[in-house]
């Protein structure tokens, strides 16, 4: 009897291991709300989401959250003259771009944090050299206040100016995965190959969720 119990327990553990997660977690803050469903009070959760935004892209066009409606997207923060982590990040982001190229449900949004120099014309040159000639991967420019606060508050990515840094700008290399409801569903170190592999797997999971 006891052996049987152990066997069952072992089976349970093994089955838990084998299961591939079919849902990604929600990151960031959350708050409970009360809702009326069929005349009954129900507690629901509100997850942190990316608020409406407006940035200018590589073709000087204003883009907003409307351009991401119904899509999942990966967001990051960089600047074109950065020679530390950015080349590694975008070498990895190219893998994301190439895997989902032409998929209307997937976009990439790279924000420059060099608001002084990375004007749309410079972003355009950068994008072209990287081989990006469409709008599936948007490179956007925002003002100083909007970009640093936007990064920290909404994408949980730190970016700031630092006189001590040789290039004067410091930022983290996260790739943040956002779902079609603009909730944060994953954060991956864009400089690490294995984490980028994980991102690609998680994007497939999120795309399946999109179809439900």
């Amino acid at each position: 009897m006891r052996n049987l119990f152990y066997l069952l327990f072992l089976g349970l553990i093994l089955s838990a291991c084998n299961q591939t997660p079919d849902q990604l977690p929600y990151l960031g803050e959350r708050a409970p709300i009360e809702k009326m469903v069929d005349g009954k009070k129900v507690i629901d959760t509100i997850y942190q989401s990316i608020p409406p935004f407006q940035f200018r892209n590589q073709d000087s066009l204003l883009i907003s959250e409307k351009d991401f409606e119904g899509k999942i997207y990966v967001s990051d923060f960089f600047f074109t003259s950065c020679n530390t982590i950015c080349p590694i990040m975008h070498r990895n982001m190219l893998k994301v771009y190439e895997k989902y190229k032409g998929n209307p449900q997937v976009k990439i949004l790279s924000h420059t944090i060099d608001y002084k120099y990375d004007l749309p014309s410079r972003l355009k040159k950068y994008a072209t050299k990287l081989g990006i000639n469409d709008h599936q991967w948007e490179f956007v420019h925002g003002s100083k206040d909007s970009i640093y606060q936007f990064a920290a508050k909404n994408y949980l990515v730190a970016a700031y100016e630092d006189q001590k840094d040789p290039q004067g700008l410091v930022h983290q290399g996260w790739f943040v995965l956002v779902d079609k409801n603009r909730h944060l569903r994953g954060a991956y170190d864009g400089t690490k190959t294995d984490q980028v592999e994980q991102l690609l797997k998680d994007m497939d999971i999120l795309l399946q969720e999109n179809e439900k």
Binding site: S81, N83, I85, P87, R91, L94, K129, L130, G131
Partner: protein
């Protein structure tokens, strides 16, 4: 008579052994430069040029163009130390970016990096001596 011949044979064999076991000074330096050069390359150059020397699209040129590295071999020290601006053609493609200067590198470190680069990624130029880097740096344009 016989023992004298044996002694000659032993002497001869040991001389051969000595020559075989000893690497020339240049070979030792090559190994030393190459190993340190790899570490320096990966911390100083690999972000942009990639650790496998493949560069990144049209943003950063690859280091696999053997002809470019061969025909510019006396300019490499200046490029690494002072950076590079303007248009260059590497592997049939045009690049026009800005490579940052790395003034803090010493001559020996530059020689190590050059030794690594010019003997990796399909290149085979042999040891770059520190004296040669010293000479090259005096002729930077």
């Amino acid at each position: 008579m016989k023992s004298k011949r044996n002694w000659t044979l032993i002497l001869f064999m040991s001389v051969i052994c000595f020559i075989g076991a000893c690497q020339s000074e240049e070979e030792i330096n090559y190994d030393r430069y190459y190993t340190t050069g790899k570490q320096l390359y990966e911390s100083r150059c690999g972000n942009c040029h990639n650790n496998d020397g493949s560069g990144l699209a049209l943003l950063y040129p690859p280091l696999t163009d053997t002809t470019y590295l061969q025909s510019n071999k006396n300019k490499l020290a200046c490029i690494i130390k002072n950076g590079l601006n303007g248009e260059i053609t590497v592997g049939g493609k045009t690049y026009n970016g800005q490579m940052p200067a790395q003034q803090d590198l010493s001559d020996i470190e530059i020689a190590e990096i050059i030794t690594y680069i010019t003997n990796s990624f399909g290149n085979k130029q042999g040891l770059k001596k520190t004296e040669d880097v010293n000479k090259d740096l005096k002729n930077c344009q």
